[in-house]
Amino acid sequence: MKEITVDELIQPKVQFVTGNDAIVYGALLANCRFFAGYPITPATEILESMTQYLPLLKEGYCIQMEDEIGSIGAIIGASWNNVRTMTATSGPGFSLMQENLGYACMTETPCVIVDVQRTGPSTGQPTKPAQGDVMESRWGTHGDHNIIVLYPNSVQEALWTTIRAFNLADKYRTPVVLLSDAAIAHTRERLEIPLEKEVEIIKRIPVTIDKSKYHPFRTGYSVPSKVPEMDRFGNKYHTYLTGLTHDWKAYPETNSAEVHEKLVRRLYEKIDDNRHDIIKYEEKYLEDADIVIVCYGIASRTVYSAVETAREKGFKVGLFRPITLWPFPEDKIYDISLDIDKFLVIEMNLGQIYHSVLEYSKGNCQVESLFTLGGQLPREKEILKKIRKR
């Protein structure tokens, strides 16, 4: 039987589709070959499309699990077969995933978790966009840990950000959370779909060391890095994995403060040392700005036009939009804060990134906020009102 390639599967190459579609296409182009999920608005279409596409691809598998705990468990397990894996959910499911998300951090298992945000807490408003999971994506699982969180603001950017999520997951052996929201998920926009050969794939570093010298969490053997090379099941190295604190042999060590500190610090540093590679943002009119609006994801879409209107009216307004939310672009916020009068943080929650902006502007400038709830996108009129207020 003739094999189906992703290029053949996703046609035509320009489509008018939703953010959920773009995430699916991005994942397939990034070589994601296992998806496990559980239906939930507004993420369900990702699972539906994956059940449609993955069985058609070589070594592609998709399974609807019994819940979100099982979904993330299945993708973490499968990842150790050297397979790129993903799950997608929304707030209630994302909350259920937190324990195993920490397990992926602790065992340094690459995987991508999509959280298509809706309003909360609890069941909230399933079809309404929100940005209330920003802090949960950073701190949802217990204990000290580091994580990468990305958040695109359009259908086109969703495709490329999904691809990037897989690359970062493999490169740093970490779970990557891809945030989206009900608006991006269900809005149709023009999408240009690249060919497979136009997509860069950054692979995991495989273990090559002699078996007698192999230790699962030894780092810096083949490249100077705090990320260990990654084994796979069915290989010869017989790796053991545990969520318990472990030494470099992966053996549990539940009493030593030293072993724990060494491990947790490395897990932090392998991401923090590479902030320059991981952090991505968009900036506009920063050169002469007095006021800089910080916004991200869907909330940024109404900000663009507000910035233009304000500029036409003579206000020197700039825009800073983190695409990587975590690690947070703190140096950039600090640098900007030195030259401006005011940050205006616009979010669809009651203040999450606001606190980071406040923290890293270190009192150099004012920090104002505009928060919206209930699925309401920030309105231009209100943004202009905040800009005018000096």
Binding site: M1, K2, I69, G70, G73, V83, H238, Y251, P252
Partner: protein, 294 residues
Amino acid sequence: MLKPSDELREKYLRKDLLPSMFCPGCSIGQIMNYTVRAIDDLEMDQDKLVFVSGIGCSSRLPAYFEAYGVHTTHGRAIAFATGIKVTNPDLQVIVFTGDGDIAAIGLNHFLQSIRRNIDITVICVNNETYGMTGGQVSPTSPMGFKTKTTPYSNIEHSFNLSFLAKAAGAVYVSRWTTAHSVQAIKAIKKGIKKKGLAFIELISACPTSDRRFPEPKDYLNYFLNESIRYKPHCEDELSSHVFKNLNECFTAQDEGKLIVGEITDLDKPDYHELYKELKERSINEFWKKRENTD
């Protein structure tokens, strides 16, 4: 002829982790021994062997095997194992779990994996208590049992996990106590060879946390004296130690008897076989559609 333990230990266990963490008199060491003998008899490829577990004393087992091992989160071993087996059917996946791990927090994953008939082997160390956390009541603790969290005695009915697995449609279920070494090894071997989900329940002793008996050896006597065979197709009509129907079993169980035996052995297609078919079918349909639209 039994192979000497030293030889098996050398080949199958991580010697730098021994002696194990298990208490003296604990059944888990025996189950490690039975599993080693089963995989040795089957001449299994250790590179392709993945032991997956949840949380609990019993779930610490994978660490000791010279093979792949994944010590996951409480109750979730089977979910992880599902992802592992589905994406790499060449692996032999064996799940170690405890009664709390599989019958309380992880019960749904267990039943769903039986329904899917994922080709894995699940070995449950049923010590009828939460050993690791110090002896609280578990869904398999007998009624009337006094534990740390049932200080006035347990008023809940207990699960018989093997019958539950049978009712859910498992293709292979076998239930023994750790005093039944020969049968346990045979069951593990049969379970591993079985296509589809095999469940082996081993009633075990946790002398440290459950403290039902003063001496570990008392558990063995209890296991041997109180167990009764469930054998639906038994020839020997007169045997007083054989039950042929489930109702008899339930009554006996309520009276404190331990039901053992091969509970189920049947055949049906496993998940991978059906997925392979589905893949072929859907790819064919894809090309057909393509031809028609071209």
